[in-house]
Symmetry: C3
């Protein structure tokens, strides 16, 4: 009973920290995009966290943890609508947390995947179709895909390992972002004569605050993924998480400075996020040196991935694909290369996991968005894009009374 | 000893989260008001949290928990000035927390009531009289009123239930806001030819951050009101709290979109707060479905309450009365309608509680502010209001060096 | 095992809160300086937290806790590069925390000292030499100085007491800030005809958020310095911390209002920080009344220290020297005057501690910065200073797409 109480306290705190990541995402995305679309970005983030929780309560939790029967294929299961008052009353449900904590912690994760997409499609996506996409992706795709590993499905049987979601959360968001960005097309003015143009965001202090809030949130994201307060594992996880974040930031800063000769804060910030995403799949399996190497490589990946995405003419205003997809894949594979689980067999399992999630995410995102594109359309009009989404979709400005000083 | 340690850790964390709500309130209120009054709003919030803590140490804690004698009326008691070193040294003080934690957790609550008022009276209240009001309201009215229920006073004897303060905190702030707004009058320009005019705030990203910080703080506000780390109760409470918040936001968004045909972010945000206030009185007594219904109704109340307050020509710049008073009453009554305590007798007890707090809050606020109005005045001059309170009261601007870009 | 788990949970939470202080420092410093240097300030803060953690992993932790042999001088020791997997695997390492938690908690402290300097040298320091300074100061000076007391070195033997770092963290940053500001010289325009000119910052809401985040972080900074979750000590510490913060703010506000006749929010905010720094050395040794007195005196010190620093023609844009050095010294000495350890002998020990840290910090900062000044230079060109560091060092603006409204 005492151990359950301690474990549950830790898990509740981690839940709160993962919840707080939604503010981090909101500020980061708002800061890295233009002022005229700020309200729209924030609206999407608020929609995702609220709707995401309700959907996870309605169907998500029971899709993700359906309790696959022995001998089932482990591909799809559903334990029924709503939460389970009987399981909730059973304090022997799990030694690490109560039923309620389990639901809420996992529910906070669910919304994250969609939030990743919202940054990538910023400044040009039609909000109502985007909300429809979110409902389907958070409500159905994320939990079904999640059941394959965390729900004990077929990838779990195959030995695939993803501690806290480099693949199950970040790549699931990242693949959707990739497909969405491709279907949407680039923002007006992003490519001139085939050359990518920088479209700077409007508020770097907000973006910086967003990244530090996300880092804080990762204490809960990875620390809570231990699923108990086990002192050795939780504290190791926090150390690897923080070292990877630091290494990712420093590596991205050094490489980007060498390449572009200026001290680019947004690259530093995305490097931190890259390091965090990279360590997430194996944060409990690595030592400090592994963590630093994984983080540093993630930071370097960021610099080249941002360049590569520009080169293939995709337009991702906040760098979400570089951070969540590229570093998510890297982190997942790194479990087979570094740390306690390193080995060829494990590497192959990791590859199988990456491929499986690529398949479900690419296909489902494509189908949903393609249908929406052909019916209601997914992109705002040129006028609206040029004048800003805030006025058109929300009838308001994000800084409606902001005045400049005369001096 | 171990159980006390765990419980106390949880309570300290909840204390920190409730403290953090003061940043949430500050950002929300600053964001929803005009730039020229930003410094003034922030000053009030900083004044309230600091002074509130000192007053709660000096008299508040001992007014709120006076230890009513058996057979006393349970209306007023006072256990003496300052904190009690003897009680503090006794680790058997309570199984859920130490004396120090008890004081600090409750002290963080105390300041909240006054903060609610500060948003409603924004942009036109004279700051010195407002500070006098705060000292009396936080120092005396809040703890005396609180003693009626949480101190074991007459409403506790009557069976009135208010888990974490829909009435004791939020309505206590909301009633004061209502009276203050009525005595102060509307801001210049709020009503033209009898019609309410929108006066948009200056920084919606700040307001959004404020709401998400408040939601985070509510993990501590409600979670800590269990007064221990009891795993079943704390985690249930977090689930009902988050579901009500989500449902409140979504309901307010849907209804306001249906009514006004635009996606209004501030309505979404206030809907979330409404859901949070609504669930607070019974967060430990509800199941998930109850929580969603209570939250959704709170969200709908927000939309109509904002309209109603406009209609009766009251001017509440941040929607504090709709959120804290209307949803506070709703949440208090909901304890008699939904969940484990539902029943006619309970509903009547809840009504008695609402009425008692209405009485003490309306009367005391009216007396304090009426005296201040007739003596020093409570409203700034027309010139000051038009030019902004920041320059007049603080000799400074909130963004003194903010420059626009030339492009 | 259960007690270790609880203690470790508390220490991990405190670690997260101390980490979060870096956002507080970043927002405070950015808010109190001009818009044209915002990106630069944020970059420095991000550099410090990432590099600081990596350096603390590489050498800092083993310099700070070298395990001085009996009979050694206790001045310098080094336990080798990197972290110790053997110690990490030993759950009997300490009853209060694991090896990993120990490292991470102390690592978060390490970066703080340098962050203090970054505010003082803002708006004119060359960033590359500053980064070199940070690497040496965080990597070597801070941990060696820290070993004198927290590592069990000679000051610990002498009975010097510094609970959570009024001296070991805040003065260590403050002395460096003092020397740096002196070597750098004042910003252009700070002194006209020998008179100090106010150079207001650009974003007071950010600064306010920064201070409240710092206060929140102090729950971990002081609460975690108990080094376990001991319920009596941790909760007492949070009470003294919060009361000192409140008293510091209110005292600074009252005194500055009496002196300057306007309600100065930045003075209120710095008073809160002064109170926090002041209580830090003895937060576990004081009662509530002591804490209020210590905090109030710290708040008063702030008002006069800011004036004094202006008078001696030093230019500290954010008031870091007043807050961290003056109040750090005050708090350290206060341990000999108030609370459980008060006494002449203790006071002398405290003085010895203050003097020792003054010596190592002044000398090391002077040597490092003097060499940098004579070689690469530590100050940006006049043009760069006038036009802003953001454009020159980072090729970007902090608000690149911020537009004003036409109304």
């Amino acid at each position: 009973m005492e151990l359950l109480t301690i474990n549950n306290v830790w898990m509740m705190i981690c839940t709160a920290l993962v919840f707080f990541m939604h503010l981090g995402f909101g500020l980061l995305e708002a800061g890295l995009t233009r002022q005229k679309n700020t309200l729209n970005i924030l609206f999407k983030n608020i929609f995702i966290i609220t709707t995401g929780l309700l959907l996870y309560c309605l169907v998500g939790f029971n899709l993700m943890y359906p309790g696959f029967a022995e001998g089932s294929l482990g591909v799809f299961g559903f334990a029924g609508f709503g939460l389970d008052a009987v399981a909730a009353a059973d304090l022997a449900y799990n030694e690490g947390y109560t039923y309620w904590t389990d639901f809420l912690f996992q529910g906070m994760f669910a919304a994250t995947a969609a939030t990743i997409v919202s940054g990538a499609v910023a400044e040009r996506v039609k909000i109502v179709p985007f909300m429809i996409f979110v409902v389907i992706y958070v409500g159905l795709v994320y939990p079904i895909a999640g059941s394959w590993k965390w729900g004990g499905g077929f990838l779990d049987q195959l030995g695939f390992y993803d501690f806290a979601g480099s693949t199950l959360v970040h790549s699931v968001g990242g693949w959707a972002a990739l497909v969405a960005v491709w279907l949407l097309g680039a923002r007006i003015g992003k490519f001139k004569d085939g050359k990518p143009q920088a479209i700077p965001g409007h508020n770097i202090p907000l973006a910086t605050a967003g990244v530090l809030i996300l880092w804080l949130g990762w204490f809960g994201f990875n620390g809570g993924s231990v699923l108990s307060a086990d002192p050795a594992l939780t504290s190791l996880t926090l150390v690897t998480t923080c070292l990877a974040a630091a290494a990712g930031g420093v590596a991205a800063f050094l490489v980007s400075t060498a390449m572009y000769k200026n001290l680019d804060l947004t690259m530093f910030l995305n490097g931190i996020l890259g390091g965090l995403v990279g360590i997430t799949a194996g944060a409990d399996q690595m030592g400090p040196t592994d963590a630093i190497i994984i983080g540093a490589i993630a930071g370097i990946i960021i610099v080249f991935a941002v360049r590569f995405i520009d080169k293939i003419k995709l337009d991702d205003p906040v760098g979400a694909i570089a951070v969540h997809l590229f570093c998510g894949i890297w982190g997942t594979l790194a479990v087979g290369i570094f740390g306690a689980m390193a080995g060829w067999d494990q590497f192959v399992s990791q590859l199988a996991g990456v491929a499986s999630y690529a398949a479900i995410c690419i296909i489902s995102t494509f189908v949903i968005l393609f249908i929406l594109k052909k019916t209601v359309g997914i992109r705002v009009s040129e006028t609206e894009e040029l004048e800003g989404l805030d006025g058109y979709e929300h009838g308001m400005d994000a800084y409606p009374d902001f005045r400049m000083n005369e001096h």
